[in-house]
Symmetry: C2
Subunit: 195 residues, 2 copies
């Protein structure tokens, strides 16, 4: 034990997390600027690149990013003006609007996405299950604390059903899912009850 461990309480976990968050935000700003976007626009683009068809509406984007509907609506409109998104009407509910990445949007995400920029620095950190569990536990607590939706990956959801023959289904909507959809984020995601 070092002398300063006695003298000075070291940083609280919250303080470390908060600092990590600040640095990630700075990194986001950098990536956004690289693409000529504002941070909020960049965040929305990245979310839309990773979410499924139940979760690409203004409401869902706003819920994920923690902004209001109005703000979100404006931001999506800006991305559309830049040709990065396209609007898709909902087939069942005429109030609902879906936002999909355009070809240009997909290209931008592929080239400058955060996975390619930041993930490398975390290599070798997450190999063991304990580390990942710690982060997921922190996430779960923050979500529970404020009653936030989990926005987890479709295939890890309690509603996810495998029908056999490589076919999948969402138990909530009853719709069938393509294999590649199973790895996308979903607004309706529910943690399985027990592991």
């Amino acid at each position: 034990m070092r002398y300063y461990d006695v003298l000075v309480e070291s940083a609280l976990p919250y303080q470390i997390l908060e600092r990590i968050g600040t640095l990630l935000r700075a990194e986001e700003r950098r990536l956004a600027a690289l693409c000529g976007l504002k941070p909020a626009q960049w965040s929305a683009l990245c979310y839309l690149a990773r979410c499924n068809r139940y979760s690409d509406t203004p409401s869902a984007v706003g819920e994920y990013l923690g902004t209001t509907k109005g703000t979100t609506s404006q931001t999506l409109r800006r991305l559309q003006e830049k040709g990065l998104l396209r609007e898709v009407a909902d087939s069942h509910d005429r109030r609902v609007v879906h936002w999909r990445l355009s070809a240009a949007g997909k290209k931008m995400f592929r080239n400058h996405g955060p996975e390619s920029a930041i993930e490398p620095f975390l290599q070798g950190l997450s190999k063991d299950r304990d580390s990942r569990n710690l982060l997921q536990e922190i996430l779960r607590r923050l979500q529970k604390a404020n009653d936030y939706r989990s926005f987890g990956i479709c295939g890890s959801c309690n509603h996810f059903r495998r029908l056999g023959g490589g076919r999948f289904q969402c138990g909530l909507t009853g719709e069938s899912l393509r294999a590649e959809e199973a790895s996308l984020l979903c607004r309706e995601h529910q943690e399985p009850v027990a592991t």
Copy 2:
């Protein structure tokens, strides 16, 4: 191993971190709104409440929060207008301005600070050394990745000296430090070379 572990890659550590960051930001927004402040103002106030006298200048605040000098200058001015900060001239360098919390600012931080609001949810998580080390390792990597300063706690710095008789000194500036200053964040903080 669950079936979806085969089918679906689970979230990358970066993605989990990014989500944690987003939720913390949402929480910050909530706390800021509670105090009638904008998020940027709130962040600056919280930083100034926890940093030492070498780190309370517009440059340092901007460096910590990842914003430019101009933006920071404006934000601090707004906080001053609200009576939460006061300006203090530097005794050695007439270019430099220090910002200290006013009585009202201190009271606001005490009553609504993030420690009191968020730390409770993380209780029981960080007791073991491994967990804390993981978070600190992530932080270190992000800092190194972009050449960011560590903004660590004074007493955990390589420059920190204990003179004996409960007196302390900063090896970089040569100035003596009061005991309570040792637990504040410092812009000049350097990790000790070896543990």
